[in-house]
Assembly symmetry: C2
Homo-oligomer: 214 residues x 2
Amino acid sequence: MSDSRPVGRPLEFQPDDALESAMGLFWERGYEATSLQDLESTTGLRRSSLYNAFGSKHDLYLRAMSRYLDKLGELMFTPLETGTEGLEDVHAFFERLRHGIGKGLEAPHSVRGCMMINGMIEFGGTDPKLALLGDGFCRRFVSAMALALRRAAELGQIDRESIDAKARLLLAIALGVNVSSRSGASAREIGALVDAAKDLVASWRRTPDRAAAR
Amino acid sequence: MSDSRPVGRPLEFQPDDALESAMGLFWERGYEATSLQDLESTTGLRRSSLYNAFGSKHDLYLRAMSRYLDKLGELMFTPLETGTEGLEDVHAFFERLRHGIGKGLEAPHSVRGCMMINGMIEFGGTDPKLALLGDGFCRRFVSAMALALRRAAELGQIDRESIDAKARLLLAIALGVNVSSRSGASAREIGALVDAAKDLVASWRRTPDRAAAR
DNA sequence: TGAAATCTAGACCGGTCGGTGGAAAATTGC
DNA sequence: GCAATTTTCCACCGACCGGTCTAGATTTCA
């Protein structure tokens, strides 16, 4: 079971580090616009090392995307899934969205949007493996959000009806926020959008008896 | 003032036709993934003719995008701007969105999403001219939507408050719908999303006196 | 008919693309 | 030390990239 120490010359680099910087480049420029030469210079590795470690450019991209999704999931979705506060967890999610998907993912100065969304649009169903990742991403978003909303219903904060539809609507809004972000919207604009989303969520709140609906 | 008939050999093709098919290709594949060779074969023109008529690949792309925006504006935004029905116009907008942005723009079998959104994501602020087009697109969306909502307010259908925020939220949702569409969501899923958007709009309706808030 | 103007066909350009192969370097077990 | 193994370096590959150029075809005007 224990894998023996490999024989031969040892790697001179940390594959994880290389993957991390490759991820950053793909995230910023997309797949087609990133050349092997670009990857060489930002990872500091030669082509052969990259090939040896990851296979083709496309394989490397897929690996980078998976890594991105892992991080994203932990940062954005896990809290939604494990939270116990119902609506507060949903608000917290949008608060995280406001301050940038990049937080904790080492966001650069430039705005990159969400790497998964960028990839889905660039490939547009062309690449089955990427489409699968994209599908998983959307499903996880919806299920995590629905989970939090269902908990909110249990807590009596909102109605039990049409929770899935609500979750899907929030997915669409989050997608929209990311598109806006990537296309250069100001922090103010993104902030306003997040506020609107949170208002929407707040509007689902059951009124204790009759009071202000908003 | 009257431009005289040009001297020399006349064009053997309709520039508009070429632009139309180039638009279709860029729409489907994006900018980087579309080669001059691809453009030659789908337009049926040689490089020199394309260059003669449109300049560089990038110029051609920009022209194609402008054409797309013209059509899109007329099909999607003009009705919103000239409508007189308030909320009904907004519902009609989403109904148009449901049946595909491609309608009237000769949507192909495959799903292409919105060409402008695809472009904004692919370039991500890299290209100033495209960014300008994207900005104009978003602004027009928001202003047209706000116009319709303001008319709805005048008709007493909704409150006058936070109309701009509502319009921006609807933009985010529409962006999200297009992303979902491009990344291969089924017609059913898109339909559910549009339904949720319409429900949201409907929820803004002022209750005549007390009746159902939803 | 001929000069000027414009367009088309397609060969051609240097550069870059993603990817490969081979020799040298570095480590292992023996 | 030696064979085996693996990685690194870097030159090199054919293909294709966006873009240019020239020769010849086709038109208008005189």
